[in-house]
């Protein structure tokens, strides 16, 4: 026992060594294979494929076994080769429809074998046809443009003719460079038309099919087609329309541009600017406002009165109702005053009046009154109120009351001899000038010159100018000698504060001399007053051309010192009236006064 055999030791070592080395390449039974799919292309045969599992390091063989439904008989795959590796092909004889196949694959190697999961298969439901064949694509034309026509054939193996299998088709189209496919269902027909494709692009087409119940086939290999270049008719029409309308717009715009101003005038008519007569815009632009506004000034408007002009007034003497002897100061410059008997001129005398309405009324009233009678009261008795200067308003009333026929005769005296005048003046102060502004008819400014006023119309219009004496105003009054041509004109220089007229003759200056010298044959007489009996009281000239009128007062009973001459002819002045009786009234022709007094009967006649 002690004995260890030296020969066994290496044996033991070797055996241990071999034991250790042997497990380096181990084999095992194969892993389980798996039936991947079974397919029938025409519902008459079918094929099953499997994938092998782990082979376990040993060569492994595979076998497919199947059994039919309702039977226990196990059959092995009749054909392993036709369909390729790891496949089993069932021919027509081996294929039965409407029966379940129970298929499994067994892998076997030296170590063992393994069986795959069984698979139930009914051939009717695993039909997947082959791809359609003979896909052809062509470009056709119609009214709307080119389109694609795709045609194909059924897969050769599928028997649709006997009705055993019915196939439906599907195709898809896309541009070569695009990604999205456009799919179309073609039903059971074997052609299809594709519209609305873009011009000039390259397209690719594919087709596939499917049985009644089964799987879609694979897509055919793509067929390429090139679309021709064309312009869609609609687009070309729109292009033409757009070009045409653009052209029209251009023409229109050019025309408007050319006629720019007239268009602007038509659309936006210019608003007429304000027109001021006499307004010179150029002056305004030049910047001198003074001149501009001066230009606006109308000469003569408003009547720039010197108040002198205001003082000069005209009386209207009315001869008759029919005859209206209108003294119109305004008309004087025009020459002899025409008879106003016929025409009722609106301007008759009243025009010479002031613009104030009241004055016009007064004048009118005066006219009316005197129209009734032809009696002129004496100056003194007449109308003026013995009011002081500056009074107004009531003045016209009172003379009226006195003698309604009476006009107010503003005493107008022009005396070549101031002293005479002044002498008489105090007497006449009572018959002071009353200012009846309303009544008084103003003379036009032109009378300031004085020369023109003294012309009277033939019929014997007498014109008196009333002198206003304004209180605080010193005016130059122009006394108008209402006499004939032969009258000499005097001019009132000033009015004293005491209401004294200072006259000065206007002799020779205007060439009225020839008139002055002629008395007897002249037509004009100075009427002093009109009595109630329609008797004119005329005044005689004192001496020569110059005379001074005197007037009698009224009411006061004071009798003005009438002229001597008058007294010769007539009665003395009566308190009320100084009558100049004329054998025939002034209405008669050829009446003449002897001496200085003059009456133009002719005028009165009418």
């Amino acid at each position: 026992m002690m004995w260890i055999d030296s020969g066994t030791m290496p044996l033991l070592t070797l055996s241990v060594f071999f034991l250790l080395l042997s497990p380096a390449t181990s084999t095992s039974a194969p892993g389980r294979p798996r039936v991947t799919s079974c397919r029938s292309p025409e519902k008459e045969t079918f094929t099953c494929w499997w994938e092998p599992g782990d082979d376990g390091g040993l060569p492994t063989t595979y076998a497919l076994y199947y059994c039919l439904e309702g039977s226990e008989t196990v059959y092995e795959c009749p054909d392993y080769k036709t369909a390729g590796k790891n496949s089993c092909f069932f021919s027509k004889n081996d294929t039965s429809l409407w029966i379940n196949y129970n298929i499994s694959v067994v892998a076997t190697n030296a170590e063992g074998k393994s069986v795959s999961e069984p698979v139930e298969v009914d051939v009717v439901y695993i039909v997947q046809p082959k791809t359609p064949e003979s896909v052809m694509v062509s470009v056709l034309e119609d009214d709307h443009g080119p389109y694609l026509r795709v045609s194909w054939d059924k897969p050769r193996s599928a028997d649709t003719r006997s009705g055993w299998i019915t196939l439906v088709y599907q195709l898809r189209v896309k541009q070569v460079k695009e990604e999205n496919w456009e799919e179309y269902d073609a039903g059971m027909q074997k052609y299809y038309n594709v519209f609305s494709l873009h011009s000039g692009k390259e397209y690719m087409v594919q087709v596939r099919c499917k049985p009644d119940h089964g799987f879609w086939s694979e897509w055919t290999t793509p067929a390429y087609i090139q679309m021709p270049d064309f312009i869609p008719r609609e687009r070309s029409m729109w292009i033409m329309v757009a070009v045409f309308s653009a052209f029209i717009l251009l023409i229109f715009a050019w025309t408007m541009n050319v006629k720019r101003s007239s268009v602007k005038h038509y659309l936006l008519p210019p608003i007429p600017g304000p027109k001021i007569r006499g307004f010179d815009q150029q002056l305004l632009k030049s910047g001198k406002s003074e001149e501009v506004f001066n230009a606006l000034v109308i000469q003569g408007f408003p009547p720039t009165t010197n108040y002198e002009d205001l003082l000069v007034e005209y009386l209207e003497v009315y001869d008759d109702v029919k005859q209206e002897l209108v003294l119109n100061g305004k008309n004087l410059p025009e020459g002899l005053l025409k008879s106003k008997t016929m025409s009722s001129d609106n301007d008759s005398g009243r025009g010479s009046c002031d613009s104030r309405t009241l004055l016009m009324e007064k004048c009118a009233e005066g006219v009316e009154e005197s129209g009734m009678e032809q009696e002129l009261s004496q100056f003194g008795e007449s109308s003026w109120a013995s009011s002081d200067s500056g009074e107004d308003r009531e003045n016209p009333a009172s003379p009226r009351q006195e003698d309604r026929k009476v006009q107010t005769w503003p005493p107008v005296f022009s005396s070549p001899q101031p002293h005479h005048f002044q002498q008489q003046q105090p007497g006449g102060t009572r018959a002071s000038y009353h200012s009846v502004p309303e009544i008084s008819c103003r003379s036009p400014p032109g009378h300031s010159s004085g020369g023109q006023q003294n012309r009277f119309s033939k019929p014997g219009f007498y014109q008196y100018t009333q002198m206003h004496s304004m209180d605080s105003i010193e005016h130059k009054h122009v006394a108008q000698v209402p006499q004939s041509q032969s009258a000499e004109y005097v001019e009132v220089q000033t009015v004293d504060p005491e209401n004294i007229l200072l006259l000065r003759p206007l002799a020779n200056a205007e060439g009225h001399d020839p008139e002055l010298s002629d008395f007897a044959g002249e037509d004009y007489s100075k009427v002093r007053d009109v009595t109630s009996d329609n008797i004119l009281l005329l005044q005689r000239d004192l001496s020569g051309p110059q005379y001074v009128r005197d007037y009698c007062q009224d009411q006061s009973g004071q009798v003005d010192p009438c002229f001597m001459q008058l007294q010769q002819v007539e009665q003395t002045c009566k308190p009320t009236n100084v009558h100049l009786h004329l054998p025939s009234l002034m209405l008669q022709d050829g009446m003449r006064l002897a001496g200085n007094g003059y009456v133009d009967s002719t005028i009165m006649m009418s």
């Binding site: 519902k43 008459e44 439904e69 309702g70 027509k92 294929t95 039965s96 429809l97 409407w98 029966i99 379940n100 129970n102 139930e120 009914d122 009717v124 028997d159 649709t160 003719r161 006997s162 009705g163 055993w164 019915t166 059971m188 009644d212 119940h213």
Partner: protein, 209 residues
């Protein structure tokens, strides 16, 4: 149903004599209608089977042992087999199948309504299937009669009596297993459909075959 078939045959005879009020339908149209009918029937059965398959997982044991009540009817299980049959035989097979399924489908619908598990859509499909089977049977009978009129088909090998007896036999065979039931019906409806198509393309080869 017997009276109906008699009346139909009577109508066909009347129309054959050329009465103007009678508008006859061409055989091709008849076939197309019938084929469309059977296609719809098959779609209904497939849908219903898929719905049931979700509810009821078939045990593996049942798959292989399942047996349909119409398995006694010999039907061609391939194209060549089907083409070898004569027109009359093929028509007879179709009619047998349709008759065998009429009553069981009605019972199936009734059992569905009784059980509250199933939704209304499934129940409606079952009812529709039942009705369609009846209609399809009538239609096929009309087609057969028309073919007989046209001389295409000879008289039935089996008289009406045989068919009636077949119908009565199948009524007692009804499986409670709904899934198997539907599986069997789905298969048979597909058979009917396929047989009709073969029949049509054999008799009228130019009408879309």
């Amino acid at each position: 149903m017997l009276e109906m078939s008699k009346s139909v045959s009577l109508l066909l005879m009347i129309c054959a004599h050329g009465y103007p009020e009678c508008q006859t339908i061409s055989l091709a149209d008849l076939f197309n209608r019938v084929i469309q009918h059977s296609a719809r029937l098959h779609r209904l059965s497939s849908d219903l089977y898929s719905e049931f398959e979700q509810y009821l997982i078939p045990s593996k044991n049942e798959i292989g042992t399942r047996k349909c009540h119409t398995s006694y009817i010999v039907t061609p299980n391939g194209k060549e087999h089907a083409q070898k049959l004569a027109g009359e035989e093929l028509t007879e097979v179709i009619l047998k199948l349709l008759m065998a399924w009429g009553e069981p489908l009605a019972q199936f619908h009734q059992s569905m309504t009784q059980q509250q598990d199933y939704n209304i859509y499934s129940s409606n499909k079952a009812m529709e299937m039942s009705d369609m089977v009846h209609e399809l049977k009538n239609g096929v009978q009309k087609v057969a009669e028309k073919m007989q009129l046209l001389g295409i088909l000879s008289t039935f090998l089996n008289g009406e009596d045989t068919l009636h007896s077949l119908e009565s036999e199948s009524s007692s065979v009804f499986s409670v297993d709904h899934l198997n039931f539907l599986h069997c019906f789905r298969r048979d409806s597909d058979k009917i459909w396929s047989y009709l198509k073969i029949l049509k393309c054999r008799i009228l080869p130019e009408s879309g075959c």
